[in-house]
Amino acid sequence: MGMTITEKILANKSKRTTVQPGENVWVDVDVLMTHDVCGPGTIGVFKEHFGSDAKIWDKEKVVIIPDHYIFTADEKSHRNVDILRDFANEQSLKYYYDVGTSNYKGVCHVALVEEGHTRPGEVMFGTDSHTCTAGAFGEFATGIGNTEAGFIMGAGKLWLKVPETMKFIFEGELPPYVMAKDLILKIIGDIGVDGATYRSMEFSGDGVYSLDMEERMTLCNMVIEAGGKNGVIAPDERTLDFVKKRSNKPFEVVLNDEDAKYHSVKAYRSSEIEPMVAKPHSPDNKALARELKDVKLSQAYIGSCTGGKMADFKAAARLLKGHKVSIKTIVVPATKEVEEGLKSETIDGTSLWDIFLEAGTEGIGKPGCQACLGGPLDTFGRLNQEEICISTTNRNFPGRMGSRQSQVYLASPLTVAASAITGRITDPREYME
């Protein structure tokens, strides 16, 4: 019987000819990523079990990217980065992107892609739930905890239950006011925050294949918000071109078998999708942007691994150009490469950077996770009071971006930009037609 991409990758990596959903298998790991929040705990587990002078299984397969608590005065946060640095030195890690050096990157999921750590057919684990982002490159990628990551550091493998696959197809071209964020918010709103628990979510259709790699990453990034184990998009020419530019390691393209079996297949007509919003305090609390005109906002936030990539800023800048924001608007590039892109990329001769400043945003934050997860009290853009924020990030749980008194609405960069102008939730079509 045929297999889905996810099943095939897990079969390859567990050295079997075939696997079935529900089976437990031990898979070999191609990349293990950790960061400053979970890295120190992972290293602690690794040393406790493999010994204080143990060596990791492969020093080219562990990637450490500090990104969460970087620009803060908090001492424990600094201590945690020190632990990563010492470990990277001790293990002669090839890929450690240190804070305060020219090697600093920013948000791990975007940095992994930029630095060529994502390749079709591979298995990636990361101590961060949004590790599923890398599925956009046709690989199996999912989030794990410290203990599992500590185990992988020594053993190079991990047991996994083979998930069933739910397939989501977007038929037809996407309207210009619709972004990947709208597609994924629509799906999560339809199936609920536990609608894909323990399953793989695969995205397909010409709507999906018309998206650039960054937009595809946004789709896969939020599968965890539906409880999904991994998100995946079968590689096409665009994927291969992108990956070959960033990585010179060989890889194997894995595609669905013709007769692969799915848990379910759901098809949407792209032209029927409208700009979506997830209301507080759950990513599945869906509404259309145009239904929420009466919601007054105090802050807009454009950033994170979901909504802080070049594609996100290009969309937001296109809409903001020639307008002024009427509420506090925070811009945080995910990585240094994106930050540089804001300066070099122009629209009608003006850089995105200048477009944001001229529109009246609160400067431009330093690249990293920043207020996407609240973080220490001095974090840039953190919601410290009863703020009502519209954000391009991925979670709006109580207190996620800071104060538990605050409220967060999730939306696409276009919708966030339009709302920043009016100070109310605004359908971007009002500024696009």
Binding site: P40, D74, T147, D194, T197, I224, G227, G374, F397
Partner: protein
């Protein structure tokens, strides 16, 4: 597993996410440091909405309820192992929920921290925080003392063997990794 857990329950609803279990500002605490682990315990569930009952009393490190009853999708959100660690450090032995997010479930199992049981019955609507229960881990039954009713817990399957071993390291040593 040949033991019984007796004690009070703490009752929660659906979609208790990891930011509610342990808010992000405490993630700078290092779970492998005993003092900081204890501190993580003292912050367990402080992220619940502001009108909720407190799980841990002011100034305490451990909860008075070693058992949590919850609805659907317990532990959704981030991969932070700090979440089951903080519950474990606060003295939680087991959770009985309708369902779990997969990373929380795996973390609890692979680190051998607590038993993430499921019950096909929605218990969180029938029970109140502070009520006494007895859980028989052998028989997989659960007695609600105020009503005398006995409920069955679903089997944990392979995960149970891993917890019984004490986590993934011991499990792999015993059963190998093939």
């Amino acid at each position: 597993m040949s033991d019984k857990v007796t004690g009070k329950i703490f009752v929660l609803g659906d979609n208790i996410d990891t930011d509610q279990i342990i808010p992000a500002q405490y993630l700078n605490l290092l779970p492998t440091d005993p003092e900081e682990r204890k501190k993580l315990g003292s912050y367990a569930l402080v992220g619940l909405p502001k009108n909720s009952l407190s799980f841990i009393e002011e100034g305490q490190y451990e909860a008075s309820c070693p058992i949590i009853i919850a609805g659907k999708n317990f532990g959704c959100g981030s991969s932070r192992e700090h979440a089951p660690i903080s519950l474990n450090a606060a003295g939680v032995r087991l959770i009985i929920a309708e369902s779990y997010s997969r990373i929380f479930f795996r973390n609890s199992v692979n680190a051998g921290l607590l038993y993430p049981f499921t019950s096909s019955k929605r218990l969180c609507d029938e029970m109140k925080t502070g009520e006494e229960v007895e859980v028989d881990l052998d028989a997989k039954t659960f007695t609600h003392k105020p009503s005398g009713k006995v409920y069955h817990l679903d089997s944990l399957g392979d995960a149970e063997t891993i917890i019984q071993c004490g986590g993934i390291f011991e499990y792999a040593k015993k059963y190998g990794t093939n």
